[in-house]
């Protein structure tokens, strides 16, 4: 396959950055999108050019480290997958592909396609845990959890923290990410003791980090690799109201 890539290059946070064009002639349909970038990078090295910096690690859709805009869509043209799961068979010979980093004020560019998502870690720091120390747990079956509750907690808990929801949102809102974590823990009986504090602190941190508000367009759930539903966001708002009244 012959592909013309138009890729965002930016040396550092202070650099203005620009789109640069690269043509690769010998790609195959079996290659994953990131393997195509690997291949392009090897060609750049041989031409004595600096490689394109991009993030990736597990390459099986679970670590959440990869993620770029491809032709204007977070994680590319297919719904609900990560960038590493996209394959070149989703493109046609001769296509032009635009590749850009996540765009959000709270995710500043570090270099080329790499952004800083540490804002997510700071949201997690603000209550996305159950405060028990190692060694103090009761017997696991002492607290039965109905299957439906465990399943709904699991649906929310599956978030991989890639940031596609923020990147694709016109307001750069982190509501899907934050609500998924809150609902995972607040759904479970173990999470009840801190439920109000958790929702208040995590949502407050989300604002401090500069993420925008959610206007419920639903754009995030289209790109979420784990199919996390925006129902989580509505649930988070309800929990927040409850926390403000009862907390």
């Amino acid at each position: 396959m012959k592909i013309k890539f138009k890729i965002w290059r930016q040396e550092g946070p202070e650099d203005k950055g620009a789109i640069k064009e690269y043509t690769v002639n010998d790609l195959t349909e079996e290659m994953s999108f990131l393997e195509a970038l690997d291949h392009l990078n090897e060609q750049l090295v041989l031409k004595n050019e600096e490689v394109i910096a991009f993030e990736h690690d597990c390459r099986e859709g679970i670590c959440g480290q990869c993620g770029v805009f491809i032709n204007g869509r977070a994680h590319g043209p297919i719904n609900n997958i990560t960038t590493c799961q996209l394959h070149m068979r989703s493109f046609n010979d001769g296509d032009t592909i635009f590749v850009e980093p996540w765009r959000a004020k709270s995710f500043p560019v570090i270099k080329d396609l790499i952004v800083d998502r540490s804002a997510f870690d700071r949201i997690i720091e603000h209550g996305a845990f159950i405060s028990t120390n190692t060694g103090s747990a009761p017997e696991a079956n002492a607290l039965p959890i109905p299957k439906a509750v465990a399943e709904s907690a699991m649906d929310a808990a599956s978030c991989i923290g890639c940031g596609a929801c923020v990147a694709t949102c016109k307001n750069s809102s982190a509501a899907l990410f934050t609500s998924a974590k809150i609902n995972h823990l607040n759904n479970l009986p173990q999470g009840k003791a801190e439920e109000h504090k958790r929702v208040e602190e995590m949502t407050a941190q989300m604002d401090i980090e500069g993420f925008g508000s959610c206007t419920f367009t639903g754009a995030c759930e289209v790109e979420c690799p784990e199919n996390i539903s925006i129902v989580n966001i509505a649930e988070m708002h309800a929990r927040l109201m409850k926390a403000k009244i009862l907390g």
């Binding site: 990078n41 099986e60 679970i62 799961q85 845990f129 159950i130 190692t134 747990a137 079956n141 465990a150």
Partner: protein
């Protein structure tokens, strides 16, 4: 130097409590004066860092990824074992211990393996309390399933994302302690050297992956939790960034490397489809609970899988191992697949795969049950291959997976360098020559949460009296200078081939000669070839970009330089062990029907290699079986 494994006295079931009784303690007020470095933030690293911080220690934790949540524990799919006997099927701590010891082909210590099984039940309690959404029955109790190599159901799971859920729990606890200012987290930092002062581990040198700056960190003890090194094969189930550099640097500073050649080849990964492929995605072994593995009876059968009738299919695992069938242990299942593929019965575009078929299970249990059990695995399979595995069989193939080998550690998980600990996959301890499925998450968690926080006191109690060295100490100076020269030397080569080229060449040699089956002449040839690759790499590699910036090519080159050296040691270890055991299969040592022949008289030891001025010297830790008589492993 003699290797002292420090196994405590007493009956098997009393050893751990005897150890704890005799171990030194440190009062809470003094703990905060002690600093511990933890390198790696996966299940072992995050578990250790958060627990040590809870106990009062001052902790610094490092990872090369942008966040601790990316560590490769995240990718483990199938589950975690525990001897809870919730299924009332005859399980017990002793049975789990025996299964693990036998699964490892009697090449691990009884006491370590027993402790693994002993601590498994409280670990499940711990994770449930942390909010891990394990699978549940309608009545609300926990569900279990089976895994390879055992006949009871003791595996706990959260869909096909168990590793992710456990890691996220550990990560949450870690960031809880970050917020409490008890842990200082350093993401995007890669350890490039270990600093040893007066024979004790006292710090590390890291490279800030964003700025390229080399930094020095001092501590009273250093814990490595850096995972496995199967990326030495290049194509593996590991994350692309996984590497062996931290343990390799520690090895070069004096830590013994145990059983480096013991590498598990996982039977159910997706086959390679092109030369440019960067990784082999694993499909959880749990699929073998309901999937049946087969190849066509006729070589190169051109028909599509669904068009091949029952009588023309060879369910070779069920045929060769009727009592365990599709749930034979991984080493056996992988070798059996390789045997069929090599004999010309492989399927798929490159004839390098076997079928994993769910038709029988779907007919028997219904589509909904299969979707409930494996839904996300099937959808992952579809995303990668474009094939709907509910309608046609999956194609799977063996791939390099878990490193049973790693830094030699004693019962306290301390390496041969005082003050240096290795936990999780980067050590050699509990799995012997082959790891059972769902024991990996278990070992990583137990090492990090339960064992290390109880054993490190025993060392630190005596270190209380010693001042922590300052980072201006000459040894820090020297380590940083050597690291900096190593980087300069790499960048100065300016040759004609990419890092990726050399990794592909190394991977091919390793896969050919040091993977599922090995022999003397192949290994001898491989050592010569890898030495040649090393020379070519150091004279002809080309890296663009500088050292004082984010430079992914430089990162890769630094890791590969260590993999090349490690590859030589792996081949030497495989060459030295003239027997077949677990994942280590020497072609010269097999029965007529192709089963492994173990040589207990001569090889019932753990090989522990010492780095000596560029050479490797072998030490042997004899294995004593006081409670169990090693038997011939049979899964027939």
């Amino acid at each position: 130097m003699t290797l002292d494994s420090k196994i405590p006295e007493g009956k098997l079931e009393d050893k751990w409590s005897n150890y704890q009784l005799n171990s030194q303690l440190i009062n809470p007020a003094n703990k905060k004066k002690l600093n511990i470095i933890v390198v790696g933030s996966g299940l072992a690293g995050a578990g250790a860092a958060s627990t040590l911080a809870e106990l009062g220690y001052d902790v610094q934790c490092f990872c090369y990824q942008d966040s601790a949540r990316r560590a490769h524990s995240v990718a483990a799919q199938g589950g975690i074992n525990a001897a809870k006997n919730y299924q009332h099927d005859g399980d017990s701590v002793y049975r789990m211990f025996y299964d693990t010891l036998k699964g490892g082909d009697f090449r691990s210590r009884e006491a370590n393996t027993y402790r693994l099984a002993q601590l498994s039940a409280p670990l499940i309690d711990h994770f449930v309390q942390q909010g891990v959404p394990f699978a549940r029955e309608y009545g609300g109790t926990l569900v279990n399933r089976s895994f390879g190599g055992v006949q009871v159901q003791r595996t706990f799971y959260a869909r096909g994302q168990t590793g992710q859920q456990l890691l996220l729990a550990a990560y949450s606890q870690l960031y809880k302690m970050v917020r409490a200012k008890k842990v200082k987290m350093y993401p995007r930092h890669e350890m490039l050297d270990l600093v040893v002062i007066e024979g004790k581990a006292k710090g590390i040198i890291t490279r800030d992956l964003v700025t390229g700056e080399l930094k020095r960190f001092a501590a009273d003890a250093v814990v490595l939790a850096t995972g496995g090194y199967s990326r030495v094969f290049r194509l593996s189930t590991l994350a692309v960034g996984c590497n062996g550099s931290a343990i390799w640097k520690a090895h070069k500073k004096g830590a013994f490397f145990a059983a480096p050649s013991f590498t598990q080849i996982h039977p159910t990964a997706l086959p390679q489809t092109s030369e440019a492929q960067s990784k082999l995605t694993l499909m959880s072994e749990s699929l073998r609970n309901d999937g049946r593995i087969w190849v066509p009876k006729q070589k190169g059968d051109p028909r599509k899988a669904n068009d091949i009738p029952e009588e023309d299919r060879d369910y070779y695992l069920e045929r060769r191992y009727p009592s365990f069938g599709n749930l034979a242990p991984r080493d056996i299942a992988s070798r059996a697949a390789k045997e069929r593929i090599d004999a010309g019965y492989g399927c798929g575009k490159l004839n390098n795969a076997v079928y994993l078929d769910f038709k029988t299970a779907i007919d028997k249990l219904g589509l909904e049950t299969i979707k409930d059990r494996y839904g996300n695995l099937f959808s992952m399979y579809q995303k990668i291959t474009g094939i709907d595995a509910y309608k046609e069989p999956m194609q799977i193939s063996p791939a390099a997976h878990f490193s049973m080998g790693g830094l030699w550690v004693d019962y306290e998980l301390m390496t041969s360098i005082p003050g240096l600990y290795a936990i999780g996959e980067c050590n050699f301890s509990d799995h012997g020559a082959n790891r059972l499925g769902a024991n990996s998450l278990l070992q990583a968690s137990i090492d990090g949460y339960f064992i290390l926080p109880n054993t490190i006191n025993n060392y630190l109690a005596s270190e209380m009296k010693v001042d922590r060295p300052d980072t201006s100490h000459p040894e820090f100076e020297k380590s940083e200078l050597e690291t900096s020269q190593h980087i300069d030397k790499l960048l100065a080569i300016n040759g004609s081939k990419t890092v990726g080229h050399f990794h592909r060449v190394l991977g091919k040699v390793m896969w050919q000669e040091c993977a599922m089956s090995r022999n003397r002449s192949g290994l001898e040839k491989a050592i010569v070839q890898i030495k040649a690759i090393r020379d070519q790499f150091w004279s002809d590699v080309k890296i663009t970009g500088g050292k004082d910036e984010l430079n992914t090519e430089l990162e890769k080159a630094l890791r590969l330089a260590d993999f090349i050296e490690l590859g030589i040691l792996m081949c030497m270890d495989a060459l030295e062990r003239e027997e077949s055991c677990g994942a280590h299969f020497r072609e010269e040592f097999q029965t007529e029907d192709g089963e492994a022949v173990r040589k207990d008289q001569n090889f019932s030891y753990v090989s522990a290699w010492e780095f000596e001025k560029g050479n490797f010297k072998l030490h042997k830790e004899e294995l004593f079986f006081e409670f169990v008589k090693p038997s011939i492993r049979s899964y027939k």
